[in-house]
C-alpha cells in the first residue's frame, strides 16, 4: 500500500501538472485532478506485484471501478463510488469512498453489505447522502452521513422507495423521480401452483411495449417527480399524467424545477422529449407546466444558470430521419420560455453532454465525445468560444470491456436512455464539476 500510495501521489502530481492548478484559475477548479487521482489510486494491485505477469481472465474482477465523483461544497473533498466484484460469491458491491481534493489516501465511508448509489453532498455541506436499502426487505431510501461523524442514518421514509434525487438549494427538500409501483408483481417468482401469488399477465396497449433489462412495458406504470420535505417527511407529487418525467433540476432560488418529459400524443412514436418547468411547491400534481423547448427531437440534461434566467441543455439540429445519428449540441434558452434556443456548439460537430454553468454564469462546462476520447470543454456564453479543459493525456478513462466511460465522468449517457422515457437517468447523473 505504501508503494501504491507513493506511485499514486507521483501520478497525481503528473496529472496536476498537465492542467491548471486548483484554485489558481479564475474560478475554483477542483474536479479534474481529484477525480483522476482517485481513478489511479484504485488500481494499486497493478503496481504492487513483485514480478509483473500476463493478464488472466480472473484479473477483470481484481480491477475496481470508480464512479460518481462528488465534490464537497467547500471544495475540500471528493466523494466517489468504488465497485468491487467477488467472483466466488458472484456479487458486485458498490461503496462510497472519500479523498482529499488535494490528494492523499482515500478511505471508505460506507461499510454496508448492501450496495449504495447516488452519492450527493447536501448543498450546505453538512452531510453526504446516498441511496441504499438496509434491513430485511427494505425499500431503497435516502441515507445520510453526518460530516461531523457517525454511521449513516435513514433520511427518507418513502413507501414505494426512493428514486434518483436532487437536493434543493437550501437543503430542506429533495426532488426525486419515482416509478409507479407494480402492484401486479408477486413477491416471489411466477411459481406454478405455488404459494406465492401468481403474477398477473402482462396486458399491453402501448406502441413501445418492451425494453431490454426492464421487460414488458404496460400502460400503467409511469415515473413522476415528487418533492420530499425533510423536516415534515411529507412527499408531494409535482408532476402527473400518462407520461414519464426525469432529470429534475432545481432553480437556484428553489422555487422551480426543470425536467425532461416527452408529452406528445404518443411518446412511444417519437423521441421528442422537451424541457419543462414546474413550480416546486405546486399541490395540483403539476397541472400547470411551462414548456421551454420546441425541437422535434430530444432535448435533455437541463441545468440552470446561477441567476435562474437561463437553462442550458442538450439538443439536436437534425431532421428526424437522421435522429439516431444526430450529433448532440449544447443550447441555452430563457427559463421563462420567452425566447428561442441559442445553440452554442454548432461548429464543434461533436456530441456533448452533462452541461453545467460556472459559478459566475459566464461559461458552460460540458463533456465532449472526441475521436475515441472523452474530453471536458467549456464555452463562453458571450464569445461562443470553445476551449478544452481536459483532453489528450488527461482524458477520462474508458471501461476496456464495455467501452463505457467510467464513473459517469462528464460524458454522455448511452443514447438508449432517452430522458423522460426511461427514468433511468439513474442517481448521480450529473457530475459535480464545480462546488457550488
Amino acid at each position: 500500500m505504501r508503494t501504491s500510495a507513493k506511485v499514486s501521489r507521483r501520478l497525481a502530481t503528473l496529472t496536476r501538472s498537465a492542467i491548471p492548478s486548483p484554485r489558481a484559475g479564475r474560478f475554483i477548479f477542483g474536479g479534474g485532478p481529484a477525480v483522476l487521482t482517485a481513478l489511479l489510486l484504485l488500481t494499486p494491485t497493478l503496481f504492487a506485484q513483485d514480478v509483473p505477469r500476463p493478464l488472466t481472465i480472473e484479473d477483470q474482477f481484481a480491477i475496481k471501478r470508480v464512479g460518481s465523483p462528488q465534490i464537497s461544497p467547500d471544495g475540500e473533498w471528493v466523494a466517489f463510488t468504488v465497485s468491487t466484484t467477488d467472483l466466488k460469491k458472484e456479487r458486485t458491491r458498490t461503496q462510497i469512498w472519500m479523498v482529499d481534493a488535494d490528494g492523499g489516501d482515500p478511505f471508505p465511508v460506507t461499510m454496508s453489505s448492501e450496495s449504495i448509489s447516488g452519492p450527493k453532498w447536501s448543498p450546505d455541506g453538512k452531510c453526504l447522502s446516498f441511496l441504499t436499502s438496509r434491513g430485511e426487505n427494505a425499500k431503497t431510501q435516502v441515507w445520510v452521513l453526518d460530516r461531523r461523524g457517525g454511521e449513516a442514518q435513514q433520511l427518507t421514509e418513502i413507501e414505494n422507495g426512493a428514486g434518483s434525487y436532487e437536493w434543493s438549494p437550501d437543503a430542506s427538500k429533495l426532488v426525486m423521480a419515482i416509478r409507479d409501483r407494480d402492484t401486479t408483481s408477486a413477491a416471489g417468482d411466477t411459481a406454478r401452483g405455488g404459494r406465492s401469488r401468481t403474477r398477473d399477465p402482462w396486458v399491453i396497449d402501448r406502441l413501445q411495449f418492451k425494453r431490454d433489462g426492464r421487460g414488458y412495458l404496460t400502460d400503467t406504470l409511469r415515473t413522476h417527480l415528487y418533492v420530499y420535505d425533510i423536516a415534515s417527511k411529507k412527499l408531494t407529487q409535482i408532476t402527473s399524467g400518462r407520461w414519464d418525467e426525469g432529470s429534475p433540476a432545481w432553480s437556484p432560488d428553489g422555487t422551480r424545477i426543470a425536467f425532461v418529459s416527452n408529452r406528445t400524443e404518443d411518446p412511444d412514436a417519437n423521441s421528442n422529449s422537451d424541457i419543462w418547468v414546474v413550480a416546486a411547491d405546486n399541490t395540483d400534481k403539476g397541472a400547470t407546466l411551462l414548456r421551454i423547448t420546441a425541437y422535434e427531437g430530444g432535448d435533455g440534461s437541463p441545468t440552470w444558470s446561477p441567476d435562474g434566467e437561463q437553462i442550458a441543455y442538450t439538443t439536436g439540429t437534425h431532421t428526424m430521419e437522421f435522429n439516431n445519428h444526430a450529433v448532440r449540441h449544447l443550447a441555452v434558452t430563457p427559463s421563462d420560455g420567452s425566447g428561442e434556443r441559442r445553440i452554442l456548439t454548432e461548429a464543434l460537430d461533436r456530441s456533448v453532454g452533462s452541461p453545467e454553468f460556472t459559478p459566475d454564469g459566464e461559461n458552460i462546462v460540458f463533456s465532449i465525445q472526441e475521436s475515441g476520447e472523452g474530453h471536458v470543454g467549456q464555452v463562453n456564453l458571450a464569445s461562443v468560444e470553445i476551449t478544452r479543459i481536459l483532453d489528450g493525456t488527461g482524458r477520462s478513462q474508458r471501461d476496456p470491456t464495455t467501452g463505457a466511460l467510467t464513473g459517469r465522468s462528464p460524458l454522455l449517457s448511452p443514447p438508449t436512455t432517452r430522458p423522460g422515457s426511461s427514468s433511468s437517468s439513474g442517481p448521480a447523473a450529473s457530475p459535480s464539476v464545480f462546488p457550488r
Binding site: K89, G193, T198, R199, P201, W202, V203, I204, D205, F209
Partner: protein
C-alpha cells in the same frame, strides 16, 4: 380405401374428444385440463356453464384390467384451480359394474401409470412421494394396505413394465443432469451457460437441449433389488415391451447418425438378461419413417407396431398398423393399407388373431379390430364418440375411456357393440349445468370439398333467432375436433354464442390427401373450409352474419391470422400463440426439422416461407384483434404475437397484447386459464356483441 361417409345434418347425441397424438408432431392444442371436485349439492334447476366450471370436470384415463378380469383400475385427474391444487388418483371399479368405484391411492400426491402385477397380487403405479422426491414404482397389496415403494432409483424413473412372470420390472431411466450429480459444495451458484452443439437444441417446456443425456432401459429384479442396464449408447430407448416368454424386450429408438435431422425411429429387440448393456441388438424394422408402439404377438413371433412410411411429408402422413417378424428377418406386413386413417396403441388379442387399435376417423375416435390374417377391420367401439385409452381383459373384454360432446370421458365396458358405463365421475356436475344442442354437419367448401363441422347452439336456442357466432379453429394443423366434451365451445354457447368448429383441410381423420392438401399452403384451402362452416351456420338461420368472431390457439391462431388478412367479415379476432412471420421462427421455435421438410431452407427457398406468412398482408387487417401467448413458449414463440401486435398498433388498429408470465405453449397456471377465458368472453362481447363498456351481462 375407407370412404368418407357423407353426412347430412343430424343432431349429435354425444360430444368431442381430446387429441392424443404425439405432441412433437403437433402444435399442441392444450385444451384446459378437465377436472372436477366439489360437493354434490342439492339438485336445483340446471344453470349455464361458467368459466370456473372448467375446474369441476374430472378426467379419467389409463384403464387397466386386472388379470382375473374382475376389476378395472383407472386414473382420475382433478385439475388444479386457483384455490386448490389438483392431482391424479388411481381408482378401481368392478368390471361387473356392481358397487361403487374405490379410491386406491390417497389425495395429496399424484399417482400415474397404473399396472397390475401379472399374478394380480399387486396394483402398482408411478408416483413421486416422500423424501426421495424422485418418481418410483409403488405397489398396493391387493389383500389390503397402503402403497409401498418398490424401487429406489437414485435419479427416479420415467416408466416401468412388469415382466410376464412378475419377477422383474423394466425401468426407463433418463441420465441425470450432470449438475445434479455434483456434491452440494461443488454445485455452481448460478446456472452455467448453455453450451450447445446439437442441431435440435431447444424444445418448448424442456428448454435448451445440451450435452448428451439419454434415456435407457434397466431391468430391476424384484427379489434381489438389483438393477441391470440393458441398453446404452448415444440414443434414447423408449416404449419397451416384454416378449411373452420374458427373454427379450422390444423398444423404440432412433439410432441414425444424426437423430435430430430425421424422424427415423425403428423397433429394436434386446435380450432381457444381457449384461453388456445391450451391445447386441436386433433391428426389427428399417423403414425410413417413424416406427413406434411395439406389441408382441402371444406366440412371440411377431411385433405389431405403428408405422409412418412417408417421412418426407412429416405430420401429414397417415400412420398405419404393421406387423414385423421379431427375429429381425425383415418380414413385414402393413395391415391397414386401405384404411387411410391414423391408428395407434396396438394390442394383440389373446389368441393372436386380431390386433386392436385406436382409430381416428372423421371427428370420431374408434376402437378398431384388425384381423391379422387379411387386415379386415371391424369396430367394436364406434359412433359419435371419442375413445381414449383402452385395455383388453380375459376373453378380449374391452374397457375404454369414452367421451361424447355432452359427456367428458368415463370408463365403459364394450360388449358386442354395446357400451356399458362403469364410472360416473362427472355425473353430479353435469346434472347442475344446462348444455346447448350440438350438431354434426357437413358442408361444401369453395372448391366443392366436403368439410365436417361440429356446431354448438346456445342453451335455450330459439328457432328463427339469429345469434352472434364464433368460429373456433383447432390446433395442429394435423388434428381434429372430435365428439368429445369441448368445454370452451360449451362455454361460448352458454354466453349466447353459436359456436362453429370445423375440420378443415390439413385435419387428420379424413385421410392422407385431405390432410396433405395443406402442404406449404397454410391459410389456403383451410381458409375456404372454415369460412364454409360459417356460411353453413348462416344458411341454417343460426348465425347473425353481422356478428361474427373468430379465434384459436396455436394453429388455430395461425389460421385466424390468415382469416383476418383475407376477410373483414369478422367483428373480432383472438389469436393465441400463432406463427406470423415464419422466417423469424427459424432457430427460435422447435420446428427446424419440420419447416425444412415442408418449406425448404429459408435462405434457399425464401419465397415459400414468405408466401404463408400473414405478416406480409398485415396491412389488410381491419379486425379488432386480441393477441395472446406464453412468455416462454418455444413451440410457437411469443415474438410472433409481438410482431402482429406491433404492426397493428403502429397502424392504429384496435388491438391488445396479453402475455402470460413464465408460460409455454399451454397455460399451466389455473389463474391464467381463467384469465384467458374471461378475456375471450370480454373481447367477443365487446366487439362481436358490440357491448362497449361497461360489458353488460347478457344471456349468462
Amino acid at each position: 380405401m375407407y370412404t368418407f361417409r357423407p353426412r347430412r345434418l343430424r343432431e349429435a347425441t354425444s360430444s368431442v374428444q381430446a387429441l392424443l397424438l404425439p405432441s412433437v408432431l403437433l402444435f399442441l392444442i392444450l385444451a384446459p385440463p378437465l377436472t372436477g371436485q366439489g360437493q354434490d349439492g342439492p339438485t336445483t334447476s340446471p344453470r349455464p356453464l361458467e368459466v370456473n366450471d372448467m375446474f369441476q370436470i374430472k378426467r379419467v384415463g389409463s384403464p387397466v384390467v386386472s388379470p382375473d378380469g374382475e376389476w378395472v383400475a383407472y386414473t382420475v385427474s382433478t385439475p388444479s384451480s386457483p384455490s386448490k391444487r389438483g392431482g391424479t388418483q388411481i381408482w378401481m371399479v368392478s368390471t361387473s359394474g356392481e358397487g361403487d368405484p374405490i379410491p386406491m391411492t390417497a389425495e395429496g400426491y399424484s399417482a400415474s401409470n397404473p399396472k397390475w402385477s401379472p399374478d394380480g397380487k399387486y396394483l402398482s403405479f408411478m408416483a413421486t412421494r416422500g423424501d426421495s422426491a424422485k418418481a418410483q414404482v409403488w405397489a398396493l397389496d391387493r389383500r389390503m394396505g397402503e402403497g409401498q415403494e418398490l424401487t429406489k432409483q437414485k435419479w427416479g424413473i420415467n416408466g416401468f413394465e412388469w415382466s410376464p412372470d412378475g419377477s422383474k420390472i423394466l425401468l426407463t431411466i433418463r441420465d441425470p443432469d450432470p449438475i445434479d450429480t455434483l456434491p452440494a459444495h461443488k454445485k455452481p451458484k448460478s446456472t452455467p451457460p448453455w453450451e450447445i452443439d446439437r442441431l435440435q437444441f431447444k424444445r418448448d417446456r424442456v428448454g435448451y437441449i445440451t450435452g448428451n443425456r439419454h434415456t435407457h432401459l434397466y431391468v430391476f429384479d424384484v427379489a434381489t433389488k438389483n438393477t441391470t442396464q440393458i441398453t446404452s449408447g448415444d440414443y434414447d430407448a423408449g416404449s419397451p415391451a416384454w416378449s411373452p416368454d420374458g427373454t427379450r424386450v422390444a423398444f423404440v429408438a432412433n439410432r441414425t447418425e444424426n437423430a435430430d435431422g430425421n424422424a427415423n425411429s425403428d423397433i429394436w429387440v434386446v435380450s432381457a438378461d444381457n449384461t453388456d448393456k445391450g451391445a447386441s441388438l436386433i433391428q426389427v424394422t428399417n423403414n425410413q419413417g417413424s416406427d413406434s408402439s411395439p406389441a408382441w404377438s402371444p406366440d412371440g413371433e411377431w411385433i405389431a407396431h405403428v408405422t409412418s412410411r412417408e417421412p418426407e411429408i412429416i405430420w401429414y402422413d397417415v400412420s398405419e398398423l404393421a406387423v414385423a417378424k421379431a427375429d429381425g428377418s425383415g418380414d413385414l406386413r402393413i395391415l391397414t393399407e386401405e384404411l387411410d386413417r391414423n391408428v395407434s396403441s396396438p394390442k394383440y388379442s389373446e389368441d393372436g388373431r386380431h390386433i386392436f387399435v385406436r382409430l381416428e376417423d372423421s371427428a370420431e375416435n374408434h376402437l378398431g379390430r384388425v384381423r391379422v390374417r387379411d387386415g379386415r377391420i371391424d369396430r367394436p367401439i364406434s359412433g359419435k364418440l371419442s375413445m381414449g385409452g383402452f385395455d383388453l381383459g380375459p376373453n378380449n373384454q374391452v374397457y375404454a375411456s369414452v367421451a361424447r360432446t355432452d359427456l367428458p370421458g368415463e370408463i365403459f365396458a364394450a360388449d358386442d357393440g354395446e357400451l356399458a358405463q362403469l364410472t360416473k365421475v362427472n355425473e353430479a356436475f353435469l346434472k347442475r349445468v344446462r348444455l346447448g344442442r350440438v350438431f354434426d354437419a357437413t358442408f361444401p367448401s369453395a372448391d366443392g370439398t366436403e368439410v365436417e363441422g361440429i356446431l354448438y347452439l346456445p342453451p335455450g336456442h330459439q328457432e328463427g333467432m339469429k345469434y352472434p357466432t364464433i368460429l373456433r379453429i383447432h390446433g395442429g394443423p394435423v388434428s381434429q375436433y372430435s365428439h368429445s366434451f369441448n368445454f370452451e365451445a360449451h362455454l361460448f354457447a352458454a354466453n349466447g354464442y353459436v359456436v362453429v368448429t370445423t375440420n378443415p383441410r390439413g385435419s387428420s381423420g379424413y385421410g392422407q390427401e385431405f390432410s396433405r392438401a395443406l402442404w406449404a399452403d397454410w391459410g389456403g384451402p383451410d381458409f375456404q373450409d372454415v369460412m364454409a362452416g360459417v356460411d353453413y351456420a348462416i344458411e341454417q338461420g343460426w348465425a347473425d352474419p353481422d356478428k361474427l368472431g373468430v379465434g384459436g390457439w396455436s394453429y388455430g391462431g395461425i389460421l385466424t391470422d390468415h382469416v383476418i388478412t383475407k376477410t373483414d367479415r369478422f367483428k373480432a379476432a383472438i389469436t393465441g400463440a400463432s406463427e406470423f412471420l415464419y422466417v423469424s421462427n427459424y432457430g427460435h421455435d422447435h420446428y427446424q426439422l419440420q419447416w425444412e421438410k415442408e418449406l425448404g431452407l429459408p435462405w434457399e427457398n425464401r419465397e415459400a416461407w414468405e408466401r404463408i406468412s400473414p405478416f406480409n398482408d398485415v396491412d389488410k387487417i381491419n379486425t379488432p384483434t386480441l393477441v395472446m401467448g406464453g412468455e416462454k413458449d418455444w413451440n410457437v414463440p411469443i415474438n410472433n404475437g409481438e410482431q402482429l401486435y406491433q404492426a397493428l398498433k403502429r397502424m392504429g388498429k384496435e388491438t391488445q397484447l396479453v402475455v402470460y408470465p413464465g408460460q409455454g405453449h399451454g397455460l399451466a397456471v389455473p389463474a391464467y386459464q381463467v384469465d384467458r377465458l374471461e378475456r375471450y368472453l370480454a373481447w367477443y362481447d365487446k366487439y362481436v356483441k358490440d357491448l362497449r363498456e361497461p360489458v353488460a351481462e347478457e344471456g349468462r
